[in-house]
Amino acid sequence: MSALTFTLKQPTAQRVDMSPLVCQKLQGLDVDAIAAIQLQNGKSRPRVDELFYITGKNTQEIIIAGSTNKLDFIGKELDGGSISVQGNAGAYLGMQMKSGTINVSADAGLYAACEMKNGLIQIDGNAGDFLGGALPGNKQGMKGGTVLVKGNVGQRAGDHMRRGQILIEGNAGDYCGSRMVAGTIAVMGNTGRYLGYAMRRGTLLLWNQPQLSATFNDCGSHTLAFLPMLFASFRSLNSRFADSSAAFNRVRRYGGDMAETGRGEVLVRI
């Protein structure tokens, strides 16, 4: 059975809430029923077939073709199945996702993977601010799963992150790992200012020496046994993280943020 494909007829002027179009909500529906679903588009509520051409039937494998950064909430609360976004994704990609996979061929907007619980999100381009973060006012961001970004990410990646891993092949903006509770963020590129701001626990794994705040203390150089296992767990990913030459186990360890509980760590490859 071919993948259920939504091809955007033309770019929308207003934002579209794509949250109804996730695998578990479409399961068992025929094409007519799917076409009749109404989506919030600005102030109007057009049917799906007013915005998209619909082809294919497999509701567990969804393709959103011709996607733009106006399509928000793609894969919201996704619970199994796969969504492939051809083009850009708007804000809140994979928000509160429970399981399954989401692939984005270009960039994702604000709050991608926010409060994600499990599964895999791969973004081939860049991601906006608050990647894997918590919604405003909430105390816990991403709680599990893996986010892989091949490009750069904006500010506050992993804000309030609780568990899971964010893997960034490019650079991370300011406040990366801010207010982090636990989990792992790995950055192959450079990081911005205020790295790990107010982080309580968790690991920031870096390939390049960051500019650290005064509230991070040097704990010396170490060979850590868990790192080879962590890198081994990346091998199934389509990423530079899967490359065995990317792996290392020798790091400089910085503890912080001492202005918070100070049980977090920044590990920098040496």
Binding site: H222, L224, A225
Partner: protein
């Protein structure tokens, strides 16, 4: 049944259900993994007084271990789930956590999870770090040589304890040589351990004693020095009897181990003073698993 001049008694070994688990100890090199494994499986010959029965299953090459370092797999068996969990935890805490460069991993996927490093983490006094890698939870506990890495839990499964056979020989050196040959072969079988020193028991027991406080006492029917003083099970030429006890994850695993062990003994044969193979049973009263020697060797 006679194999190479060795009589295989028409009897059976009697075994009982136990709970079993496996853990993998790794270290910087095999020497230190083995030191830790030996410590962890020490004083664990019999549940009667040790609380558990434990042994080294085999040495693992770096490509067989989770962290890519040399390792040793150990198995622990106990009569109940609570007892097993307690023994595993105290032994891991005293013998692996303390051992230089060691790391500790689960050796059984599935089964009921029991704590491995889950509570040892508190040794970290708040500095311990949890990491979930590949769906499994690990703890990194800061220690003086660096970090102690341990998986949070391992699996506990239903197992079988007390499989055994007796080697009856014309002399003590011949009995021991035969048992050594048997152990050498039995160590190659997965999922089993022989928990006694070197895998061999020289003090097989019977249930009960003339002393009310003792639940078990010497198996006088197989003691060669008592041939004229008790209802003996030994013929005049037998001068020494030794026993091999086997614990395993399943009856089939113990079957296999007994078969290769008895075969190794029989290969030495009557020419080397081995006269009989028998087994310890208690009339079927002790346990539901019966290992009939002649069926195993058929």
């Amino acid at each position: 049944m006679i194999i190479n001049g060795v009589t295989i008694d028409k009897t059976f070994a009697e075994a009982f259900p136990m709970k079993g688990t496996r853990a993998i100890i790794t270290a910087q090199n095999e020497k230190w993994a083995m030191i830790s494994a030996q410590a962890m499986t020490g004083f664990a010959t019999s549940v009667i007084a040790c609380g558990c029965e434990a042994g080294i299953e085999r040495v693992l090459s770096p490509d067989e271990t989770p962290d890519g370092r040399p390792g040793v797999s150990i198995m622990i068996f106990a009569m109940g789930a609570k007892g097993l969990a307690k023994q595993l935890e105290t032994r891991a805490g005293q013998c692996v956590l303390t051992s230089p460069t060691s790391a500790l991993f689960a050796g059984i996927e599935g089964g009921k999870p029991i704590p491995l490093g889950k509570n040892l983490r508190y040794f970290g006094d708040g500095f311990q770090v949890a990491k979930k890698i590949g769906g499994k939870r690990y703890w990194r506990v800061p220690v003086m040589d660096g970090e102690f890495l341990t998986e949070a839990t391992t699996g506990m499964v239903e197992a079988v304890g007390g499989g055994n056979f007796l080697v009856l020989a014309e002399s003590q050196p011949q009995a021991l040589a035969a048992c050594e040959a048997a152990i050498e072969e039995m160590k190659k079988i997965p999922n089993v351990i022989m928990p006694f020193p070197g895998g061999v028991v020289r003090s097989g027991s019977k249930v009960g004693s003339k002393y009310p406080a003792l639940g078990a006492s010497t198996n006088d029917a197989f003691c060669p020095t008592l041939k004229g003083m008790t209802k003996t099970d030994l013929s005049p030429e037998i001068e020494s009897v030794m026993e091999i006890v086997i614990d395993g994850l399943s009856k089939e695993d113990i079957d296999k181990a007994m078969r290769v062990g008895i075969q190794a003994v029989c290969d030495l044969g009557a020419a080397n003073g081995i006269k009989r193979i028998s087994a310890g049973n208690y009339g079927g009263k002790l346990g539901p698993f019966h290992f009939h020697l002649q069926e195993i060797m058929a």
